[in-house]
């Protein structure tokens, strides 16, 4: 039987229980503690890297199908339209120096945020798809992308980084405005797939870099304790 929250004695015990729970909740986020019998974030980074490569492969076939569905010129290999209505899409392209200077946390956060947005847009794409076959392929890819997002979150947690919190009201939507013509919509779809592909390339590089970084300083383990709630 649980004690009532208002009772003073019970309140103390509740507080202790909450404290204990919080400590237990954050234990996996303490890399130093995880090292006992735990290979560390290395395997999960490797898995995430593998997943990006797999998704890259999967996207290649999906994009082919979807761009054919949109019709020419979107399925033409040299079609490179200006990025008109796709400003809201997270950009994967970044200056090389800037990319090199990113720290692990920022690197992972950017990845996480990008895929969160892209996944949301992709689900919108799925809702509009006219053929059942295409909807199935998109739904499958969304599931895989969700897995990648979870995998990145896992790496971030293993390294003790907090997940970025979406700001209220900034949820990306895929509802085109009244002035958004069908052609522009197709351009957005085209850019969504293109950005997704660029992001997967970038992520592969990001995680490869991270993987190498994690392998070298095996001896130098820093205790990185994030204690939210304390």
């Amino acid at each position: 039987m649980l004690p009532a929250a208002g009772e003073p004695a019970a309140g103390d015990s509740w507080g202790m229980l909450a404290c204990l729970c919080t400590v237990l909740w954050h234990l996996p986020a303490v890399p130093a503690l995880n090292r006992t019998g735990d290979p560390g974030p290395g395997p999960s980074i490797q898995k995430t890297y593998d997943l990006t490569r797999y998704l890259e492969h999967q996207l290649r076939s999906l994009a082919g199908t979807y761009l054919n569905y949109l019709g020419p010129p979107f399925n033409e290999p040299d079609f490179n339209p200006p990025r008109l209505g796709a400003e809201t899409l997270p950009r994967a392209t970044v200056n090389l120096d800037v990319w090199r200077s990113l720290n692990d946390k920022l690197r992972l956060t950017q990845n996480y945020e990008a895929y969160s947005h892209l996944l949301c847009y992709l689900r919108g794409l799925n809702r509009q798809a006219a053929t059942a076959e295409l909807r199935r392929s998109l739904a499958h890819f969304c599931t895989s992308l969700q897995g990648l997002l979870g995998s990145i979150a896992g790496v971030m947690a293993a390294l003790g980084y907090p997940l970025p919190q979406p700001l209220p009201g900034t949820e990306p939507t895929w509802a085109p405005g009244p002035a958004h013509s069908d052609f522009l919509q197709k351009m957005d779809d085209f850019w969504l797939l293109k950005e997704l592909q660029t992001w997967l390339w970038r992520s592969a590089k990001d995680f490869n870099r991270l993987k190498k970084k994690m392998q070298t300083p095996a001896a130098a383990v820093t205790l990185h304790l994030e204690a939210h709630g304390f």
């Binding site: 013509s181 052609f183 197709k186 351009m187």
Partner: protein, 977 residues
Amino acid sequence: MALFAVFQTSFLLALLSLRAYQSEVLVEPLPLTPESLNVSIDSAHQYLNLQWSVHSLAYYQELKMLFQIQISRMKTSNVIWVGNYSTVVKRDPVLHWSWKSELPLECATHFVRMRSRVDDAKIPEPRFWSNWSSWKEADAQKSLGRDPLFLFPKDKLVEEGSNVTICYMSRNQQDNISCYLEGQQIHGEQLDSNVSAFKLNKVSFIRKTGTNIFCKVDQKDVIKGIVLFVSKVLEEPKDFSCETQDFKTLTCTWDPGTDTSLPKRSSQSYTLFESFSGKKILCEHKNSCNWQVDSDSQEMYNFTLVAENALGNRSVSVLFSLTHRVHPKTPYNLFLKNVSGTKATVTWKVHPIGNYSTLLCQLDLLGEGNVIQQHNVSIKENGEYLLSELEPDTEYMARVRCADANHFWKWSGSISQKFITAEAAPSEALDVWRNVKSVSGRPTVTLFWKPLSKLHANGKILSYNVTVENLDRLSGLEVHSVPATANGTELTLDQDSYQIHVTALNSAGPSPASVIVVSGDPGNEEVEEERVNGTEDGFSVSWKPQSGKAIGYVVEWCDHPQDLPCDLQWKNLSSNTTSTVISSGAFRPGVRYNFRIYEISTERMAYLLEKKAGYLKELAPSDNPQVVVSNLTSHSFTLSWKDYSTDSQPGFIQGYYVYLRSKAEKECHPGFKKATLPDKSACCQHRIDNPEQKTFVMENLQPESVYEFLVTPYTSAGSGPLDAFTKVTTPDEYSHILIRIILPMIVCVLLIMITCYLKSQWMKEKCYPDIPDPYKSNVLSLIKSKENPHLTIMNVSDCVPDAIEVIHKPEGSKIQFLGASKSLTETEFTKPAYLYLLPAEKNYSGPGPCICFENLTYNEAAADSGSCGHFPVTPEALPGQPGPLTSPENLLKALEKNYMNSLGETAAGEASLNYVSQLASQMSGDKDSLPANPPEPVLCSEYKMQMAIPLGLASPPPAENSGLSSTTPLDQSEHYR
């Protein structure tokens, strides 16, 4: 002149004033110039919407008027369209009219003006046009932004096959713009320095996501595109009909045809409108709609189905009476009851339709998928029908469907139920036949019967009953029960006549009995066999009735005569039949089928009438007979193939061809004719027309010649294979004489040689003994008879030898044991000495290697035991170093004993023998090369057979007691003395 001018002026003024007055009178009430003309643009539908008013219809409530409208593009002088619009104008009206532009209105400024005219019968003619209104401008470009390029119309939806005009407008005249339709560049008509238009004729549906058209400014990152959605043509609904199942709901169905829906565009919809009631419903489905019947009052319905999409609509109507559109529900609760062998009652229920409706139900009885019976039954709610004329133990299916009895519209769905009728006793007697044969002198009857067909079995046959009744003697009935799986049984009877009844039993009872009478006497089997020709249909068999009292005939044959059992078949025929065609799927060409025709007497006994044999199709023989050549002489030989069976051939053997070929003879013998073989070689052929002639004598042949012959049978289909010729070489003319003389001579010589060989020992002894036996000497008898009767032959023991000569016999490697035909190869015998005498006592040192003493001369009878004595010798006393080993006394004793034994006078005291087993010496492995220092102690060298040796010989005599001999070892190469 001035006056005239003044007059003229005043006249003109008066006329003008009059004209002005008249016009005022006529026109004044109808100032019909359109006023307040307003033009607006509907970009989505490319409409120019005109709105204007006409004032001062003072004297008329309404007036029919005609408006003429002019539309110009780009500039007012460029009139692109002129048209009239007629309408009835009421008091203070505001009029509307729209014009649809092919060119998107955004691409060009349009100008509109109009004028009007009364077009009403109330106003007398002449009627005049009003003045034109001022031009009104419709300019959509003003509302556009500052983009460098525009493409119109935006995301237009058109029906497949329609014409579409697309235009682009650029802000900068210097820009070079290229446009593409589905990736292909298109070229249009330039309307202005900034505006170009493309006319697409009869656009076709490409994909649901639309046809992409885009334009881009070269060298700039500017791209504008539109999607032209082309919808399939909306079709008129097909097969539109309505029906009711219960007078409560009308269900209308139709085939919607092609789906015209596009993504993000509303799909086609269907509306059902009933004109009598004025009701209208929007259908939920694309191919059906349910209409609630309110009451019984409305009998007639006139439905209009309207298919509609964004581009248009299509409709179809149907008029009907509700009672003529009744489609009953599927009947239910179909049961079979009181199912007997031949009858069954079917019951079912139907859903009632209204109060007075009667249903017509169709009851089908199906057997093996086919409708056997069909009955129509009129019912209200419950149906029942008695099915009869059913077959026992048969699976049927009852199927019921119903329709409105008064106005047939459609059958309801069907309900069906399977059932099996009960069993009944088999309806037919078995078809029984018999085969009588004698086994161990007793007639054995094998009964065969054909299983009853399903039609006659009337159930599952459980067993067969065979009742045997003796017709000659009074005895009890013998009943045999045969399991259902058997199609026959075997009975062993005696010479009496028996009547046999065979019945088949199922759960309902026995079949009628099939009666057959058999007798131990097989009757006349000696019937000559005739031939019968086979055709594609089978064998046409006919016979001649004999007794005239036959109650029927039976033709019997085997389907597989070459197999065992041969699958006996028979066919029953009525008494008035004398021919039939026997056909069977098992008949094969080249197989001989034997048919036996029996007459069935009134006593139901079968008598053999005729025998027939035939082939469905005769084939050429596949094998040639095995021919035996005999009586081979220099001029002839005989061929015979008596083992060849003519009955088991693939056709009737009509005779044989005998082929003969020889390199020596080019001409054929009399009786032969020339023939050419398949390999183009020539030979001689003789034809034997009698198939039973199975010998042939080849005559007039050349001696010492090679002949090749071949005997092949022939049938009506041809002869056997002409491949394997057999070679025969005729012998020399005198060879037989030589054989007659030389052969006996050789036999005689051989006999003599064998005799000599077998009696060689005897011969040797008689003719040329190695050492003559003094006792057997003829001289002895001569001496005995003539001279001293006490004279005996000197014995060896009588002499005291002072030396023994050992003869060196190097060639004696092979010793022939006396009395034994086999020879032993002994390595020891190859050594030069046989006997070593014991030397002086100085060298003896106990037991040593023993020595084999072989006296070939005196040991005649000791062949079985041998005469090897064991003598201890010193290690030095080896064959390589011979020397005296034993005393001459012992040796002589031994010799004497051996001799006595050989005469069969072995003393009783000497019965105790030492058996020396046959041992392998250590040196036996290297017999030819003896070592210089042999290992000690040395055992007996080698014994090839188990020998009995007297005890006295086995023990070595003490050397010191024997001072009889003393010899000096000599050189090996010398003789010992």
